[in-house]
Subunit: 222 residues, 2 copies
């Protein structure tokens, strides 16, 4: 039995929940520390993560402390997924998982984040950047839908850390876009994407994690 | 002697040049195919890269074809850096390299890209998004400078794929920001960042690659 990993998280931000989903999938024990945004960009947290963002982890079993959700889920798979239930040991599939994980990190997360900023948080609703990032989100849905047509998962015949990594931002589209999302008719226009996302949400580890997020985000504690 | 890898690239975009730098560093033979943007988002290129972006590689030695620059440089290091000149085999350093590579992919590239869009390419100069992305670039410079203070490289005592990966976007700041960059006084305000970036530019493989990019971008052929 390994000692629990410490996961530095936040109630509403999507990226720490990606790590929590992978920890739950792999049955790795962990304790969550929920951070206030105000405490991230100063010591002692900056000593752990100079980038001042969550997630970060401390693993007492290996002494390894790292940040960046993409790096963390790769670390967890390489360290704890010894049966390769969520990963591939070698071959093209190993690198296809990396490819999709990097696409999630660089192509989904930042653009969904900008979409959220200009649709929800910026003081004014500015037409040009809002349209720009709405189109970027649609482009990601198009790419995922095209890649998933005729397939259940992004790589090979099983769910991997790459699939899981897309769940939190995709599931937040309703919050980000509100009524606009209905007008996009995701189920009709991106059917393979839609079926895949629903299948991921139905996984017990993902479902448990997302329910915990909703409870914490609504102020109900963990 | 391995057969040459095919690198799908573009004259002006920064990300394929990151891959070229790593190939040069590792002395791996490769041929570059320069693509027009108009040909990326349709077949046959979408058959290779459903995301319709460069870079992508085809490696005839392993039969592995992948896209996303972060995944490609990890693949190249794991396949061809058998002496671990640009990577670490194990331990905390292995995952710290992943951490910085994912930060480059998710934290530097997309934000520098938005900074370029609103400073250079969007039809109008819009104050709010331009200021937003200028501030994001400064934040990346702050994080890198803080991490590099008292150190020569991001991880351990050697240059890795993580360091190299930051070069193209950082070197493009002059093009993106023009005179504005001088007002930021990078050398004074981010001295550890500045020294690191200059040391990376002076590496023969990096220098050769960037000179080739400048030649191609100016229409002079490869």
């Amino acid at each position: 039995m390994s000692k629990p990993i410490t996961l530095y998280s936040h109630a509403t931000g999507p990226n720490p929940w990606k790590v929590a989903m992978v920890l739950e999938e792999l049955n790795v024990p962990y304790d969550t520390k929920f951070m206030d945004f105000a405490d991230l960009k100063k010591d002692p947290y900056e000593q752990l993560c100079v980038n001042g963002r969550v997630p970060a982890i401390e693993d007492p079993n290996t002494g390894i402390n790292i940040w960046e959700s993409g790096a963390i889920v790769e670390y967890l798979a390489e360290t704890y997924d010894t049966k390769h239930e969520l990963s591939f040991e070698k071959g093209p599939e190993k690198y296809q998982v990396k490819q999709w994980l990097h696409f999630q990190m660089s192509g989904q997360g930042p653009y969904y984040g900008q979409c959220a900023w200009f649709n929800k948080f910026h003081p004014e609703r500015l037409a040009a950047p809002t349209e720009r990032y709405d189109e970027q989100v649609k482009r990601v849905l198009y790419v995922l839908n095209k890649a998933l047509t005729g397939k259940k998962y992004l790589v090979g015949e099983k769910c991997t850390i790459a699939d899981i990594s897309f769940v939190p931002w995709n599931e937040m589209l309703g919050f980000i876009l509100g009524d606009k999302l209905a007008s996009w008719d995701v189920e009709k226009n991106y059917p393979a994407y839609h079926a895949w996302h629903q299948s991921l949400l139905a996984r017990p580890a993902v479902k448990k994690t997302w329910e915990a997020k909703q409870k914490v985000a609504s102020g109900g504690g963990q």
